[in-house]
């Protein structure tokens, strides 16, 4: 049922935006951004179920909680960066959208730095001095 509502809202918003864009492009953009935020916020809560399943899995299999936390953070960063970038892209500012995506990628890589350093250290220890 939810998906029908979402598709309906999206369809309606698209028609409205197409109509308004001829007269006031600014309002068309604002409407697009607003509808995007509304749908995102309405359904971002649903990810809770997935995350709880992941947490249970991690707990039962005994993998360190740091792994799961880092991975969830990566997903969060990816989602938020993607969302912001698309809103900016809607306004036609491709360059700024690219920068936002770049920032997201950098943040994800920064999270990987400790893992990389531990692995590199291990490999160096494996080699005879």
């Amino acid at each position: 049922m939810d998906i029908l509502q979402i598709v309906g809202i999206g369809f309606l918003a698209t028609v409205l935006i197409l109509v308004i864009r001829e007269q006031k492009p600014m309002f068309a953009y604002l409407l697009a951004a607003f509808v995007g935020v509304a749908i995102f916020l309405a359904f971002v809560g649903k990810i809770d179920g997935v995350i709880s399943v992941l947490e249970e899995l991690a707990e039962r299999s005994g993998i360190p909680s740091v792994y799961l936390k880092t991975m969830l953070k990566i997903i969060g960063v990816a989602y938020i960066a993607e969302f912001g970038a698309q809103i900016v892209r809607d306004a036609g500012l491709e360059s700024i959208a690219t920068k936002i995506e770049f920032a997201g990628k950098m943040l994800i890589l920064v999270m990987a730095v400790p893992i990389i350093s531990v692995i590199v250290e291990t490999v160096l220890n494996l080699l005879p001095a």
Binding site: I74, Y79, K105, T122
Partner: protein
């Protein structure tokens, strides 16, 4: 069996991490981030696979990794706040240590004064209360010493405390207590007729008063001389009737 357990645990971890990675790959919003997330997920899988080797090489790599990941999350502002928090905690700890030391010093001093008064002053002590104050430079200072004496017969204060004879006198004084109040209220009107017994009571009360004062000064002087405390901060309280008059 231990080896088999470790092996099965390791296998379970590997499978769980791979499942986790594939799920996260599924959740991802679009392809631009996919390569990066796959890199991190792959590193995690590699870490999990290599866990036994890492354990073999060095003990606590998990703790190191956790510390590294947490330090990445912290921004400099957080570090400052944390430092302030740690400092505050240190101050709190120091305060509690000081308070504890203060309590200990007071308790030691109280027991010493009690012993000294009981031994030298030949009066049994009900309670010794030492109040300490902190000077501006943080050094401790005795602010007040209150010595409460047990009820004893007046002669015991000056003479030997083991005399049994004056016990009779105490009974007589018990009557006098009422008369003392009457005397102190009516001290202005001396011209009232006073019976011979009453005048004798008054003399006894005066004698008791003098004895009390003597005891008080004596014990205050004793405490002051033994412990190097100024005599004016030593308060000696005699049992109820005398204390009221004080």
């Amino acid at each position: 069996m231990g080896l088999m357990d470790a092996l099965s645990g390791w296998l379970r971890q590997v499978i769980a991490v791979i499942l986790l990675a594939s799920l996260i790959d599924l959740i991802l919003p679009n392809r631009t981030m996919q390569r990066y997330v796959r890199l991190v997920a792959g590193l995690f899988i590699l870490m999990t696979v290599a866990t036994p080797i890492m354990h073999w090489l060095k003990g606590d790599f998990g703790g190191k990794l956790a510390a590294g990941l947490q330090s990445v999350e912290r921004s400099p502002g957080d570090a400052e706040r944390e430092l302030a928090m740690i400092e505050e905690e240190g101050a709190k700890l120091r305060d509690s240590h000081l308070a504890q030391a203060e309590k200990l010093v007071a308790a030691r001093l109280e027991s010493e004064i009690r012993g000294e008064v009981e031994q030298e002053g030949r009066r049994s002590v009900r309670k010794v209360d030492v109040k300490l104050a902190r000077e501006r430079d943080g050094a401790l200072k005795v602010a007040q010493v209150v010595v409460e004496l047990e009820l004893a017969d007046p002669e015991a204060g000056t003479g030997g405390g083991t005399q049994k004879v004056p016990v009779r006198d105490i009974e007589a004084i018990a009557d006098v207590d009422i008369e003392i109040r009457a005397g102190s209220i009516g001290s202005a009107d001396r011209d009232l007729p006073v019976s011979g017994r009453e005048s004798g009571d008054r003399a006894a009360a005066a004698r008791e008063d003098r004895v009390d004062r003597e005891t008080r000064t004596r014990i205050a002087a004793l405490v002051a001389s033994r412990f190097g405390i100024a005599a004016d901060i030593v308060v000696v309280k005699l049992p109820a009737t005398a204390a009221e008059r004080n």
